[in-house]
Point group: D3
Chain length 247, copies 6
């Protein structure tokens, strides 16, 4: 099985840590190609940036879809997810959606714990987009953003543990999603000292990509795919795909 | 007052007809600058296309924001609306949202009547995005798409009138939104023979842009605008705006 | 254009300050007739009072509808709004609904800040009635009611600014509606020192009345207007209108 | 136990038939005082009429509250219900609400079957007002209104039975509410030949009024009753009650 | 009239106190048979226990249905309620549902006050199951569970009064449900010193059982009862009932 | 990895066909133990039967939990799912929930197609329980139940294909879940001739069980597990588990 892990952010070190977690979950039989965006932003942190990054995601998938059985959009707000599902005939997994769906099968209510208030509203909107808001107890995050996102997993370790306790004890969450790429791989390190069942979004996205690919879904007769269409100013592979050339 | 009317579609004739309706509603005291996308698609008809067009909308606003007191995104699915509101310090109006909000003040329940089943789901999602789904009776459209969108207003005139009757009599709508740029200007022509109160989205968007601009809203202290940020591969004006240069 | 501004409260000074704001938004080309209720209550502050005032609103519209292109019900809980829309063939704007709809086009989430806990629940219900509850972050108000509503705008100025900060920073509101007739005109005075985008309900209602009137909506074929009917004990103009005499 | 049955309609024969059903449910130990409105409309059939009738209901309760342990508002749309609960310190039951709550305890989903399309939307709104919309399968009614409401129970008997079958078999309702005062007393007559569990709103309202009165609820410390207030132009008993004289 | 009061808990003293309250509400004309579970748990406190207790409830109803005009499931989470309604042709009342429905007719919003955080989530789910979540202000309970449930009504009396004040003053509840069998009978004792309108679930369930039985609902033609079916390992009366023997 | 596949129905042939599909999805590295209920019903078809079967599921899991890394409850209505999650410290997957969550990651909207109207409401309730109702287009099923469930997959093949077409073309579903154990394994056989993306619930449940087990979730610190408790009349292993002996 081959997975395409697409990081819409331009930070290679982030891609590396995401790919490392993904490979540890997927095991040796699954080949994972990890790509980093060559346009856009170092780290997406707003819906405006996600609007732009979503278009870049479509370009990256168009250029590499032949190499994959499923695609992972490896940024928490799932930029371009709905558009990618509309355009491409293979499973496309969003990190936020996969974390939410997995959390909803591990417990009744789930929370998101993250490292910065800047992301709180966007993450909450990602949950609403999944339709599972009724089982969501909310985002818990520090009151102030960190100076750098580079080392939040280690620097904020104790605060994140305390936030997870608030999410379970005060908000009634059964499952705690550790949201945001910089927290990739943290879950198993703090599971023993953290309340609730922890979910790592990239791990969940990888497991879900494998699960959906293993179902070998047939996209041939799917409902209302976009009609082939000419476009102007897009990257050649996306232009060709939208023009219906490789469908 | 100066309004910026942005057509994310690349079809100039569409821009012209939208601008004509907008000017007839706005009257002589309002200056309307109408722009047509120079990238993207002749006519956006899917969420995938809207994902890409939304980024183009941000570029167009960034390049022309200094010339306007309010911006109209003149495509029914409101591509880029949320992102634009996040980025720019002036009222940004979406054609679908403005039509829905206006309809909700003219009656209790509203419907959308449009010319093609291709648009039905996307339009329904535009309503859900506004949060007013509970007052929405649904989309009524022909069973088959037209061969060309150019003349649907005249060719489908009688069918659209019949669909509006279904929306009011069967679905219980008080207000009928004529959705889709190709229907711009149709409402007053068929009002006498159509049941329900008709709303023309571009007319509603223009009236709402003027209304919000007349409130002179102060954006200076607004909540959590995106932090200034470097980006790669975007148009210069948008790059500069996101970098915080003209804020 | 002619607007009818109906104050269902019996306090003339309140009507005067509402009309002053309305005229400043509408400009010289719009004629505004401001009426004060001659029955009912000095200041409506409960749903029981709104039930009674709503009937008085219908009487006032019936007596003056010929003089107007649109009607503003100038009390925050929108007494009689749904009934008035059912009875009269012109746009009827509620102050709360217009503020909510305008707020929802200026930002994603909105709050109401008001001067007394007595109004909090009723105001929250006004939002629910619009259907936009999912974008509403709640009412923020002082813990105790003021001794008099006469000067709350000046006496509570600092507390209202602090409440707006709570609404944006804690509750995540983008837009803050200053609810209640006694706060009419306050928004521009405190905008510089208040967080969030401020909306003045009477200003919003005026702008929306002009916007909807400018759409020249056709009510001729509207859905299920009440059948003409005889009544007993109502004011003569309302009796005549319900009897279908001037339809 | 003493019940006050208030018919906000001016039709005495309707009051008589409602009282007859109420007494048959209540049995000899319960004294029922049945009152007919002396103002308003022969038969309320719109929200505009309900707005006015709701004020009349308040006047009737104010004039007779001393004679009752509970009050029944005997019109399906529950005119004045929320306002009456706010003003008076005894259980106030609405015919629609009582029918809905009773239906929701007899089965999982409930429908309303009524005799005229004119009432369909208003009845649906009465259900939404209760908050139980999620268990409501909708209103089933004839396509055209009857010439007179006087004898619908007998003239439309077979059609009503057929509509109930649609409500259960097509819409999945377990319980069928026979909505509208003209259908009072019909349920037991057609139960054998009608699918679903039938609920007669006036019977349900009577049973609920007795149930709530038997709980002897204490209103002394209730939350935020309206402050005593002077008013102008209301009936003397209501004026006195709102002024706090008999509280 | 004959009511069957089924306590799915194995604690006889609890059954006795529930029956005492039920009889005081029902009066001498209503015969109440009170049964205690002979299997399961001393006191149900989780959904897992409710899953098992629900099956026991079905066995108890099957064994005694001939003796009753209505059945009360006398445990707050209403174990087995939906299943029992599906199987048996008489009104089945759940203590939580009856309390919620009664509360919703006494005021606009209701809260639950209970004696232990262990029950909070389960009780909140019981409300959601009724569909009336939109009128529910939440559960208020002590931060820590009691050592024994035996005497919580007396030992926690003052804390429960304080929690009710929070529910009304902070959360905006009009009605306060005292949730949990150990609080049966407490309401009238503390009504004078407690804010809000108090509802005792077993009293409400008894009043609702009488109300629904007095409607003499006809179950003969109800929608989609389960087909007769053979089963293995169930109690004989339930086996016989499911096999359709006494239908 | 070891999966426990629990069939709450007593039909061994059904267990065999479910296990066959599960093994084909899981591959040789996953050991699947398939168990058939020895109590209860040949085939669960109502919520009453699910209430009882849910307790049996708990007994079966308690007796075999040591042999598994995850549990599949292999009946579409997910009997006992919530209770099992509360009691046991390993992933518990419901067939309906897993199908719904998988469908929601393959497309935007999903439908259920099944073989009998008897199951329609129960299946719809299973979806509501997941919280994903807003993405559900409803159940499509034949108008009449089959004489036997044994061969519905072959006998109704063409009708099921036609129902899937209705679900996609009329209802707007992207994904079609083939609901009910008798349809296990049908999806790949008809995918070429069926519109929409097909999901086989047992295949989805198997893929999800593997996905969640591969996340190695830590249940040690989970929120509010039921306290250890004595019980009466339950199977020994469940009694011991509830008593906390093997925790």
């Amino acid at each position: 099985m081959r997975l395409l892990l697409i990081n819409p952010n331009m930070t290679q070190t982030m891609t590396d840590s995401l790919a490392q977690v993904a490979r540890s979950v997927a095991g040796p039989e699954v080949a994972i190609t990890a790509l980093t965006a060559s346009k856009g932003f170092p780290y997406i942190a707003s819906r405006a940036e996600a609007q732009i990054a979503g278009g870049i995601v479509l370009e990256m998938i168009a250029a590499h879809q032949q190499e994959a059985d499923a695609v992972i959009i490896a940024a928490f707000g799932d930029p371009g997810l709905i558009a990618a599902r509309e355009l491409f005939d293979l499973p496309v997994i969003g990190m936020a959606e996969a974390a939410v769906m997995s959390a909803a099968m591990l417990g009744e209510r789930f929370a998101i714990v993250t490292f910065s208030p800047h992301m709180a509203r966007w993450y909450a909107d990602s949950v609403r987009l999944t339709g599972l808001n009724s089982r969501f107890t909310g985002v818990r995050c520090p009151d102030t953003p960190p100076n750098s996102v580079a080392n939040v997993a280690t620097e904020l370790r104790n605060e994140l543990i305390a936030l997870a306790a608030k999410a379970t004890d005060t908000d009634g969450a059964d499952v705690v999603i550790l949201g945001g790429a910089p927290l990739a791989g943290l879950a198993p390190q703090i599971a023993d000292s953290t309340s609730g069942i922890l979910v790592d979004p990239i791990a969940a996205a990888t497991a879900q990509a494998i699960a959906l690919a293993s179902l070998k879904p047939c996209f041939r007769n799917r409902n209302a795919p976009p009609a082939a269409k000419t476009s102007t100013g897009l990257e050649p592979e996306l232009t060709a795909h939208i023009a219906g050339e490789n469908r």
